[in-house]
Structure formats: structure tokens, C-alpha cells
């Protein structure tokens, strides 16, 4: 039968297609054939349905050329945090242990200590620890090497000490005088006052000028100011408090003072009757409220105190009599003075006789004013100055040496230079370095000494001029110094930076050096005293034995006679000793070698003579 076609029914919207096939054709191979397209269903639009819809106009469509990402939000469970400190009271003890209970804790600890594992562990880490402890003790790994060494210091220490001449100021007069004293202007150091005089007794020519000059260091051609005293000035000092005032000590013993604002003539002079009888070698300004006090020293044996406002007479007087009796005939001539403003009650005087006298201004009686003396020099003490850093130690320049002393040791200086070939005529400490001092000699050389560097020789020795250098003064900065010569030539020198810069540890080292030398001298002094005491007791003993007078002061003749007698006694004793010794020697020889008798007879006249006597 042919296949049946059913027609479509719209109302059911059910589309059914029935296909029948004969049973006998099941399983038969497919026999495909082409057929033109057949329209099976055609559903036409139903306009009435459109009423259920509206037209959207316009339509918004977003377009983006970007990565597509999605955002998510998550809400977690709340977590509460709080800041707290812990007061660590006790370690993590086991729960069952009460930390307060001492016994229990001790027992616990002991238990741990017995544990083998504990012991092994501790042994191991303790070994490591010990190593580190020892390491710490062996070296300080944070040690600073070369501390405080800037490049500057290294450079300077390599520099050779040197000094160069900056300017030379010559005496403008025809007849040259010696520049006996120099003084720097207290403010700014631009001016130098030089005192000129001739110290050769009665050898000053008649037409010699009496003038002294103040030089401006920039202008060596002409002095800035002239000072006209009635007698040549031997010493000259600026008032440290008032730089217009200068005081000068003159050759005839008078003191005069100038005010540079008022001209070349002295503002006032001391009266001749009350002045010194000899040239005034040194005058120094004192520390006083009025700033007008000075004191002066001269070879006439006196030290006088003046107030420059009243120059008619000195307000105090000291006679340098070592026997403390104020006897002018016994007095020592003063050639230098020393005064430190930090020690206003003390002062020192250097004498012609080579003694340094230490004095106390505030003593009640004149006898007590002279406290003690220091001996050691052979000639006049031309310079006397305390070390600006160590005032207990002072420098003296005299004869052929310069010596450093300690106040406590009176018998000898603690350090001294060797004996030079020329006299030393002046010297001073450097104001900036405790170990440096300067000296000038008669042969015109300037020596710069640095006792930390070298003690036997000067660190620097310069020939400044051919004639003797008689005075030297260093500026407060320690860098510039002026030295005056016998022919009135004042030379201004500048020293190298190394000599005027304080080195590190310098003060400590210099202090150590002074202490060491002082100690050495103290020991020597004590030893000498012991020996002297022994000598004295021994000689006293022998004197008593001989029955001489106990307190007999033998006169000089007796002493000489005794000395002669003793001398001859000693000679006799020596001769006898020699004689006996020779006899002894001959005796021995004679016994062994009588054959040599003849030979010896020729060679040794005396002994053979003696021998003949014996043999006979």
C-alpha cells in the first residue's frame, strides 16, 4: 500500500509525519534517491500575537574593547586583635609545678642538671662560648687604630722644623748699639718695641744716641716711633693692660714710662736718689687693680717696686742679701726677673753670681722675703722664665748652658743642655708648646729646642747674624719671634707650623718627663745628703777622738796648715805603701830568680839598689 500523508492541523500545533514501511522491506538496503525539496510546514506570522509585545526603541548596547574582569566581594569572619605587653615574670614552668615553691623548682632544676642530654649539650655550647670569651679578651675587635689622626697632623709631623726670616730692622744710627731688650705689642702683635743701649762699661762712644724705637713689623725702613730717654734703655716693657704705656729701665738706674699718645719724651721718670745705682736689667708689670705697678731689678742688688703714677720713690724695696740681713754690700746683683700673673705672690730673680733667688712678696719681714736659692750656673743668669704650661718648672739661660729646674729641687737643675762653644745670652719658652724653648748665643745663632724630640741638641739651629744675639722674644702665638743683636739689628723670624702647634699628648708627655727628672734629682739629692751626714758624723767622731775643741771654728790659716799637713801625710803614706809593695815583689823575685839579678840591676836602678840592701 502507498504511504499515507496526513494533513497538518494548526490548532494542535502538533507536527506529525507518518512514515510506513512494509515489513518485508525491513532490513533491506537503503535505496536512496534524490527528490526535489518539499515544503512540509509553513507557519506564517500571526499579527495578533504582536499585540503582546512592544517595540524597544532605541536599544542600548554597550561595547568595550577591554579585558573582561569580574569583581567579587567576600565577607570573612571578624578577627579581633589587641596590643599587649608581657611582664615576663617566670619561665614556662610545667603546669603541675608551682613556680613560687622554691623547693619544687630547685628539685626540677636539679633533675634537669642530672639529665645526660643536658650535660652533653652544655659541654658542646660551653666550649664554643669559652672560645668566644677568650677571643674577646685577646683582642678588642673594635679598637680604633690611628685615632684622631687627621691628614693634617700626619703632614705636619713629616715636615722638617724650619724658621725663616721675615724682616730685619736695623739701628738707623751711625753708631750701632746693642738691642738689649724686645717687647711685643700686647694687642695684635704688629709692633715691636726695642731697647737699645751699650752694656760695655764706659765704652759707649760720646756721640752714641740714647734713643729706643718702636717698629711696625711691616716697615723695616723707618721706626714707627722713637722713645727718647735721658739714658739709654736696657729694658723695655709694654703694659699688658694698656698698650699705649711702656716702661723702660735705663742704664743709669732710672725708670721711665712713656705714653705713646703723648710723644717721645718720657711721661715721667723716677728720681735719681731713689732709683737703682746700676743699670736696670729688667722691669716687669705687676698684676694690680690699677694696672700701674711695676717692679725692677738691677745689679746694685735691689729689687724695687714702683707705682708709675708716683715715680718719686719706690713703694717697696728688697735687698738681695742671701744672708737675709738686708746688707747691700752682701747683696747679689740682679740681671733678670721672673713673674707670673697666675702666681702673684711669688717672683724669682736671676743674679749675676749665677744663683736664682725665689722670693715671696707677701712675707711679713724682709728676711722672710727671700725664700730659697737655686745654684748651678757659673755666670749671670740672663734669662729666667717659668714654663707657661707647667709653672713649677722654669728655664734659666746663663754661661754656656740652658737649664730646666723644678721648684722643689734646689741643688741642681733637672735637665740641662750640653756646654756650648759660645755663651748663651737669652732664651724663652714657646707660649704654645710646653716642650719648645728658644735660646740665642754669642756667635749669632738661634737654637730652637724641642725636649720631646731631642734633648741633647737643638731641634733647629739657625745662624741669624755674625755678631752676638743678645735678646729674644716670642710672640704670644708662638709663631713669630724677634731677636736682637749686638749691632742693633733686630730680626723677625717665623717658625714652621710644627713648632708652634700643640702636638697630641704633648702636655702629658712633657709633664711625665719633668716628673721623671725631678724624681731622679730628688733621689740624688737625698743620697748626697746621706753621704754628707755620714761624712760629718765621721769627721766629728775623729775630731772628738783627737781631743780637739768641739765647736772650734778654725781660722783660714789653721785650715790651710791642716790641709797641708794632711796632704803631706797622705803623700808619705802613699810613698811608703809603694815602697813596701816593691820590696815585697823584689823579695819574691829574689828567692826564685837570683840569676836575673844582674840584668835587673841595669834596668831598674832603684829597685836593684833596694835589693842589694836586703841581700846584704
Amino acid at each position: 500500500a502507498p504511504t499515507q500523508l496526513r494533513s497538518w492541523h494548526f490548532s494542535k500545533m502538533e507536527i506529525v509525519y507518518v512514515y510506513t514501511k512494509k515489513r518485508s522491506e525491513f532490513g533491506r538496503q537503503c535505496n536512496f534517491s534524490d527528490r526535489p525539496a518539499e515544503l512540509h510546514v509553513d507557519i506564517l506570522p500571526d499579527i495578533s500575537l504582536a499585540a503582546n509585545f512592544t517595540v524597544r526603541d532605541p536599544c542600548n548596547v554597550t561595547v568595550q574593547c577591554a579585558e573582561e574582569m569580574s569583581e567579587h566581594e567576600v565577607n570573612t569572619e571578624r578577627f579581633e586583635s589587641e596590643s599587649r605587653g608581657i611582664n615576663h615574670v617566670e619561665g614556662g614552668w610545667p603546669k603541675d609545678l608551682n613556680p613560687e615553691d622554691m623547693e619544687v623548682t630547685i628539685r626540677y632544676r636539679k633533675k634537669v642538671e642530672k639529665d645526660e642530654h643536658y650535660q652533653n649539650t652544655i659541654m658542646q655550647i660551653a666550649g664554643l662560648m669559652e672560645h668566644c670569651c677568650k677571643q674577646n679578651n685577646a683582642t678588642d675587635i673594635y679598637q680604633e687604630f690611628f685615632e684622631e689622626e687627621d691628614d693634617e697632623v700626619v703632614e705636619e709631623s713629616e715636615e722638617q722644623p724650619s724658621a725663616k726670616t721675615i724682616n730685619v730692622f736695623r739701628d738707623p744710627n751711625e753708631v750701632k748699639r746693642t738691642a738689649t731688650s724686645l717687647c711685643w705689642h700686647p694687642d695684635g702683635n704688629h709692633k715691636l718695641a726695642v731697647a737699645y743701649s751699650s752694656l760695655e762699661f764706659q765704652r759707649a762712644p760720646n756721640d752714641m744716641s740714647f734713643d729706643s724705637y718702636i717698629w711696625d713689623i711691616e716697615n723695616p725702613n723707618k721706626p714707627e716711633m722713637t722713645l727718647k730717654p735721658v739714658s739709654p734703655l736696657v729694658c723695655l716693657e709694654y703694659n699688658p693692660k694698656d698698650s699705649h704705656i711702656l716702661v723702660g729701665g735705663s742704664y743709669n738706674g732710672q725708670i721711665a714710662y712713656w705714653d705713646t699718645r703723648k710723644g717721645s719724651q718720657p711721661a715721667e721718670m723716677s728720681t735719681i736718689e731713689h732709683s737703682h745705682r746700676d743699670p736696670v736689667y729688667k722691669v716687669i708689670w705687676l698684676q694690680s687693680k690699677t694696672g700701674t705697678d711695676i717692679f725692677s731689678a738691677s745689679t746694685d742688688g735691689q729689687v724695687l717696686w714702683w707705682d708709675i703714677r708716683k715715680m718719686s720713690e719706690p713703694f717697696e724695696r728688697l735687698v738681695l742679701d742671701p744672708s737675709k740681713k738686708g746688707n747691700l754690700d752682701n747683696a747679689l746683683g740682679a740681671v733678670s726677673l721672673e713673674f707670673e700673673t697666675t702666681m702673684p705672690t711669688k717672683f724669682m730673680v736671676g743674679t749675676e753670681q749665677g744663683l736664682v733667688v725665689s722670693c715671696n712678696r707677701k712675707a711679713k719681714t724682709p728676711a722672710e722675703k727671700i725664700v730659697c736659692t737655686y745654684s748651678g750656673h757659673h755666670g749671670p743668669i740672663y734669662a729666667l722664665q717659668r714654663n707657661p704650661f707647667f709653672p713649677k718648672n722654669f728655664l734659666t739661660v746663663a754661661d754656656w748652658t740652658a737649664r730646666i729646674w723644678s721648684e722643689d729641687i734646689k741643688e741642681s737643675s733637672i735637665m740641662w743642655t750640653k756646654y756650648h762653644m759660645a755663651h748663651l745670652l737669652d732664651g724663652c719658652w714657646s707660649p704654645v708648646r710646653p716642650s719648645v724653648f728658644f735660646t740665642v748665643k754669642m756667635d749669632g745663632t738661634l737654637d730652637v729646642w724641642d725636649i720631646l724630640f731631642k734633648q741633647n741638641d737643638p731641634t733647629l739651629s739657625l745662624k741669624v747674624c755674625d755678631e752676638a744675639l743678645c735678646s729674644i722674644r716670642v710672640q704670644d702665638n708662638g709663631r713669630f719671634l724677634g731677636c736682637g743683636s749686638q749691632l742693633g739689628t733686630t730680626t723677625l723670624l717665623e717658625v714652621s707650623a710644627g713648632l708652634c702647634t700643640l702636638q697630641k699628648n704633648e702636655k702629658a708627655m712633657v709633664s711625665e718627663m719633668f716628673e721623671r727628672e725631678t724624681k731622679r734629682e730628688k733621689i740624688l739629692e737625698a743620697r748626697h745628703r746621706e753621704m754628707r751626714l755620714k761624712e760629718r758624723s765621721r769627721s766629728e767622731q775623729s775630731r772628738e777622738d783627737e781631743g780637739k775643741e768641739a765647736d772650734g771654728e778654725e781660722s783660714t790659716e789653721e785650715l790651710v796648715a791642716r790641709a797641708e799637713r794632711e796632704f803631706f801625710d797622705i803623700m808619705e803614706a802613699e810613698k811608703k805603701k809603694e815602697w813596701n809593695e816593691e820590696r815585697q815583689r823584689e823579695k819574691e823575685k829574689g828567692v826564685c830568680e837570683e840569676k836575673d839579678f844582674q840584668e835587673e840591676h841595669e834596668t831598674n836602678g832603684v829597685s836593684s839598689f833596694t835589693r842589694r840592701e836586703i841581700s846584704l
Binding site: 615576663h88 615574670v89 617566670e90 619561665g91 614556662g92 614552668w93 610545667p94 626540677y108 632544676r109 634537669v112 642538671e113 642530672k114 642530654h117 643536658y118 650535660q119 649539650t121 652544655i122 659541654m123 658542646q124 655550647i125 660551653a126 666550649g127 664554643l128 662560648m129 669559652e130 668566644c132 670569651c133 677568650k134 674577646n136 679578651n137 683582642t139 678588642d140 673594635y142
Partner: protein, 96 residues
């Protein structure tokens, strides 16, 4: 046990050593030559420092481990020798 005592005494006798403390992992001071309050203070603070230090060393290189810790201060040096279960603290004043 005597060896441990001896070793500790030896360390104590080294120049500059001010104190020795042995602490266990829980922070309990087992042995100390200082007073209790200082001991406890040291023990607690050092423990934390050790943890941090060890952590740092292992963080940088996991194969590495902390062997010794030295804390140098103005007044002295605190040396810590750590171990798994105990650590040893020594306070020393290094030579000038």
C-alpha cells in the same frame, strides 16, 4: 655533672665575665650566676631574639643555621650559644 660545673667555673673565671645563664627551651633558667630578676629578664628577652635570629638565618638560606649570637652594647657584650633544647648566655665586659 662535675664537668659542667667545672666548665662553667672556667668561663666565669675568664677576664671580664659578669654572668652566666643556662636556659632551657621553655624559658626556664636552669643555672645562673646572676640574681633571679636579671636572670628571668635575660632568659625571656634572649629567647625571643634567638627565635628571630634563627628564623632570619634560615629564611635567607634554608641550609644554614644559627650557631652563635653576639650582641655588643656600650657597656658589655652578651653572647648566646643556642642549641635545640638549651641555650647558654654569657655577659662579658670586653677588654678596653
Amino acid at each position: 655533672m662535675a664537668e659542667v660545673e667545672e666548665t662553667i667555673k672556667r668561663i666565669q673565671s675568664q677576664k671580664g665575665v659578669q654572668g652566666i645563664i643556662i636556659v632551657n627551651a621553655e624559658g626556664i633558667p636552669i643555672k645562673s650566676t646572676l640574681d633571679n630578676s636579671s636572670t628571668v629578664q635575660y632568659a625571656g628577652n634572649v629567647h625571643q631574639l634567638l627565635l628571630k635570629a634563627r628564623g632570619m638565618v634560615r629564611d635567607i638560606d634554608p641550609q644554614n643555621d644559627l650557631t652563635f649570637l653576639r650582641v655588643r652594647s656600650k657597656k658589655n657584650e652578651i653572647m648566646i650559644a643556642p642549641d635545640k633544647d638549651y641555650f647558654l648566655i654569657v655577659i662579658q665586659n670586653p677588654t678596653e
